[in-house]
Amino acid sequence: MNAGQPQANPDTVPKLLVRNAQVFATRSAFREKTLGIWQTWTWSEVLEEVRALALGLQALGLGKGDTVAIIGDNRPHLYWTFTAAQSLGAIPVPLYQDSVADEMAYVLDHAEVRFAVVEDQEQTDKLLSIADRLPRLARIVYHDPRGLEDYDPDRLTSIEALQKTGRAKLAADPGAAAAWMAGVEAGKGADVSVMLYTSGTTGRPKGVMLTHDNVVISGRNANIFDRFTPEDTMIAYLPMAWVGDHIFSYGQAFAGGLTVCCPESPETAIDDRREIGPSYFFAPPRVFETMLTQIMVRMEDAGAIKKGMFHYFLKVARRAGENVLDGKPVGLVDRMLYGLGDLLVYAPLRNRIGFSNLRVAYTAGEAIGPELFSFFRSLGINLKQLYGQTEASVFITLQPDGEVFPETVGKPGPDVQIRIEEGTGEVLFKSPGVFHKYFKNDEATAATKTAEGWVRTGDAGFIDAKGHLRIIDRAKDVGRLNSGALFAPKYVENRLKFYPEVKEAVVFGNGRDFATAFINIDLVSVGNWAERNNVIYASYQELAANPQVKDMILKRVEEMNRSLAGEPLVSGSQVTRFLILHKELDADDGELTRTQKVRRGFIADRYGALITALYDGSRQAHISVEVTYEDGRKGKIEGDVDIVDVPTFPSTAATLKEAAE
């Protein structure tokens, strides 16, 4: 790009740093909580630190094209290592700091890493334990010297020592600074800036190579999209090896001069967040879910008056909050009540969770429950969804302010084009963030990147009437009914799970005539209902077999079917028959993974009899399965389950779909 005028429109991260050091010289760039206070570096100080580190690394022998592994929690010094390496034309390779040594060994070997910059003794020990398998690894550089005093100094150097070397060189050689600067100037946007290894569940991790253009332009575009300025602050707490952190806390921060704050330790991250009060925040839905649970649990112990007030104003927020946030018309009474609620509940609550200064929060990754999503939005927190992946330098679609719908992942970001592949429904995109290639894996590159430059996301989705993208499932999981209609089990399951009464759902239908579902009721939510309605039950099994419960779930499934009928692609996936399982799916019985994900295949085998019954028209089926109790004993749970028919609705979206294409 404009190599001649790097200051005007820098095209590499080191050039961004040089610009920031001039334009935002005295503004804070990085903060880190250490020794009890937020140590702060301005952009000009960061430039100095990075330069010293770069020269130190250079003295160590790091040069153009070398790869440097970076392993540790979010620390300014480790972020600076990225820039320092990039300024020398080297390529940083961040690794997940909690990977076990064996996993690291593969990546370090594959990436041909010569130097590893690590946080502390823990990571050093891991690397030393696999060092004999890594003949190329010349030296380990550490940040925190604690516990490393007695280690072999021939293999280890501290960042501090490197910077000392660098500074000594700068002091001794007047040309050193200029030489380094020339190296920075020589960098081009098309150069590879970073290699991020993605951990696929199948096969070995692949090294996604991103160029400076990818990172810089994606960062800049994202800043424009949400109007981020150097006033904005974020807290860096997600793994540095993850593309999201790399783009948010590195690309966007450098592109826009934002302040990045690093918590003291993972355990204090929440308190540290409250101290900093970020204006930009990202978290996966799980984090928001935990937050909601903690809020509710803590409020349970409040006095009756406070609890009543809290719930009353939550109701007000549910009614009016999102409209207030989106600037939509709200009745005067509600507006006043919301104002009062803000004083008494919402603002203090935002304060407690550290969101007082939050301007933009994103969540992505899994589907977020609409209730959960609306809860935070109704409190006045501008929570939005985005959709992205490593190969896109994160951003594919984002929700613009004022156009936030729980079920979509937003519109294509700036300069992003997307298209839905005919037949499979797979989403493809083209953007400035499209990755260079997979490192040493042209086969995979070819399979992902089409000749015209489109990238396959591997996800199936569609664009709805409002122009927003909706993801329905992993493309490979999307099956077909015998009628030929698309069948998206995960999408349907998620829709079912968003109902509070449904804890878990497993949907079947691939290669069948229609879709059916196993459902687990939510014992807390349904239990509450039972208590209120004097329904007596002794166990999950009893409650699950209750006819009223069955009716309740039937209504929910019907409701979902009606809504599915209005959506293109998935209208065929309406659930025609379902049953409520007589036991809760349990990780101890192998039905769920340890991260609480449904193991569809295992369940299909284990409950084969029930699936048969769902499709052969029976009204009832008998089932008996072995279970493991908490104390490790084994037993059997058996019972008869009723099978319920659900009305389905003709698709109303067919025309829309055509219109959208």
Binding site: G200, W242, T457
Partner: protein, 304 residues
Amino acid sequence: MSSNTVMPVAPAAGSTAASTQPAEASGLAVAAARAAGGAGSREDRARRTGEVILSVENVSLSFGGVRAISDVSFDIRKGEIRAIIGPNGAGKTSMLNVINGFYFPQQGVITFKGEKRREMRPYFAASSGISRTFQNVALFKGMSTLDNMMAGRTLKMQRGILWQALRFGPAVNEEMRHREVVEKLIDFLEIQHIRKVPVGKLPYGLQKRVELGRALAMEPELLLLDEPMAGMNLEEKEDMSRFIITINQHLGTTIALIEHDMGVVMDLSDRVVVLEYGRKIADGTPDQVKADPKVIDAYLGVSH
């Protein structure tokens, strides 16, 4: 799954694992520290432990008619970890009290850093470089962790009361300088999260840790630890062992400790002195002491 990876899977995996990490980490570290402090490097340390820093000669102490210590002699060498063991009531804590001047013996001489003394105020023991922790935690209950440790810096603080009254100039600078030292200790002991909590509200294990921090804040040459691991669970004991080893090896602090956990004593210490009913019955390396029939009779055979 396809070869592409949907972005957010990564942070999910990242943060779940992150939460389990610290526990494992400390476990590993202790194992490593144990290995370093155990048989492997004992010879190394024997080399480093040089001249006698403190010697106790023919010391006797009694209260009224009750004899707490009778004619005990032993020495502590610079850089070593010296354990004092013995059954309950053997006079171990009284011995520590004598060493740091809280009790003074009716007979006998104590030499610290070449200076003979028989009686002194505890304050002078502290200012000559002896600090300690206590059997039943003796923290300043109404103060925060930070203030407790800052109180340990008292000897190093110079500024007068007038400067402090105005909290201006040198007094503030001094305060900040010492805060930084204390913060490094807080970091070392991994008690960042309780920095501002009044110590009275802390669980016992953490109180012990804060007390160690307070003793370390004095930058002692000789650190006396009175049952540093009493009432601790296994994990806390491992942490404490790790701290003791690091203090000894990397700060070069000489340590004398009383401990009941024989495993800990044998692992940590370079030399062990055994007391029984106020008399010394054995003195030597852990292996020698373990093999001593008198010790087995009087102590190991009885209570363990």
